[in-house]
């Protein structure tokens, strides 16, 4: 009587299943570690994003106060200069009309306004800072450069905040994918378990299924690692 090779070797293929199980365990362990790492990086990105957002809002508030002060100082200079010019011009008109006391009163008024305007000018960033001071052939300070400098710090913080936010989304998405891969590998564990219990011929079939599922998990992990 000829021996049925299947029934005569019930342990056949069990070593392969064992090796595959060990391999799957190592894969699960490695992917769990990668998942934890991705979660940690996502948390750090989220934290940095919130921290920079707080700083950016503070920087914008400070820029608001600064521009308010600087523009008020400039407008103070402008107002006093114009008042002084008007008083001086009116004085000249009074003098032309023969009103000498009126001329003297308005000239003094003009001098007072001019003194105030001179002080405001000396306190204004638009005249003191060479970066914004009017060029010799221009009347107006360089407001465009001022505005650009004013928000430079806030813009830099917003850029940092955006990149931290992008990092958060990147790592959070990776972390979710690792959870999905672990689920796939859990399916491989189930298939290997069934293979271990099954008849040798069926065992091979389940082992192949498990290898395919493990392959999907490994491929997905590799894609995640290079992305």
């Amino acid at each position: 009587m000829m021996d049925n090779p299947v029934t005569s070797k019930p342990e056949r293929g069990k070593t392969l299943v064992l090796v595959l199980t060990l391999l799957n365990t190592v894969l699960v362990a490695a992917i769990s570690a990668l998942g934890v790492d991705a979660t940690i990086r996502a948390n750090q990105g989220n934290r940095d994003s919130q921290y920079f957002a707080i700083q950016a809002s503070g920087s914008l508030i400070q820029a608001g106060y600064k521009s308010d002060y600087d523009l008020n100082t400039f407008s103070r200079w402008l107002g006093d200069t114009q008042q002084g010019l008007i008083a001086g011009y009116s004085g000249l008109l009074q003098q032309a009309a023969g009103d000498q006391p009126g001329f003297e009163r308005l000239t003094l008024e003009s001098q007072i306004y001019q003194a105030k305007a001179d002080k405001a000018r000396s306190l204004s960033v638009f005249f003191v800072d060479p970066a914004y001071a009017p060029a010799p052939n221009q009347d107006q300070p360089d407001f465009n450069t001022y505005m650009s400098d004013l928000y430079a710090s806030s813009n830099a913080l917003v850029t940092k905040q955006n990149s931290a936010s992008d990092a958060y989304h990147h790592w959070s998405s990776k972390s979710d994918s690792y959870v999905a891969i672990l689920t796939v590998l859990a399916v491989a564990f189930f298939l290997l378990g069934v293979a271990q219990m099954a008849q040798p011929r069926i065992r091979m079939l389940f082992s192949i299924f498990a290898i395919v599922v493990m392959g999907i998990g490994v491929l997905w992990t590799l894609i995640l690692l290079v992305s």
Partner: protein, 223 residues
């Protein structure tokens, strides 16, 4: 034959005890790993709260500093006008200047320094030094401005770092549990070999976890 059977049964009991021990260790390691993540999260939360509080204090101090600068500017501009009046030969204007100096200017000057006893400083370019006033105000509100969110973030990073390493230990212990379970179920002659492998992995995982815990505890100076 009987002796071999008895030996096998005794080994099964030892493996069962070992599995129970490793299960407890796995649970403990998993708890510690999760706990580290949670502690790091708490530190991040604390750091973010501190940064909100510190930023709110800074916003308030910037507002105060620029408000003071505005009052100081108005005072200095008015003072220059008063000086021009004083220099004039007009009697009425001189009298008006004297009244302004006596009744208006002191009030304007005190408005510019409501919280600081120090007068407003000037930058080397001659502008009002708002940054210095801000620094003075920050020093006065040191309970909020002195908050250090970065310290909490650094501590959180340390816990996250420990969590990363602790995960490796937990995984090793979990793998050892798998091998011990396999040795219990196995009827192969390689049972003892699998058992030794499980014990070795468990020992390595345990030493790793304890080592990580000790190193980070010392690194954080007991925190």
């Amino acid at each position: 034959m009987e002796q071999t059977k008895e030996k096998g049964s005794r080994l099964e009991i030892w493996i069962a005890i070992l599995i129970a021990l490793v299960s407890l260790t796995t649970a403990l390691a998993a708890w510690r790993t999760a706990n580290l993540g949670s502690t790091a999260g708490d530190k991040v939360y604390q750091g973010l709260l501190d940064s909100v509080k510190r930023q709110a204090a800074a916003n308030n101090d910037w507002q105060q500093a620029y408000q003071d600068a505005g009052y100081e500017r108005d005072y200095l501009v008015t003072l220059n006008g008063v000086i021009a009046q004083e220099k004039s030969t007009d009697q009425a204007s001189q009298e008006q200047a004297a009244q302004l100096r006596k009744n208006l200017l002191p009030g304007m000057e005190s408005l510019a320094n409501p919280t600081s006893s120090k007068p407003f400083a000037f930058t080397s370019a001659g502008l009002l030094d708002v940054q210095q006033r801000f620094d003075q105000l920050q020093a006065q509100s040191s309970d909020l401005s002195g908050l250090d969110p970065q310290a909490s973030f650094d501590l959180a990073d340390s816990f996250y770092k420990e969590q990363r390493w602790q995960v490796v230990g937990t995984i090793l212990i979990t793998i050892s549990l798998f091998w011990l379970g396999l040795s219990q179920l196995s009827h192969l002659r390689s049972r003892v070999l699998i058992l030794i492998l499980g014990i070795l992995v468990y020992g390595f995982g345990l030493v790793w976890s304890v080592g990580v815990e000790v190193i980070f505890f010392l690194q954080r100076a007991g925190a």
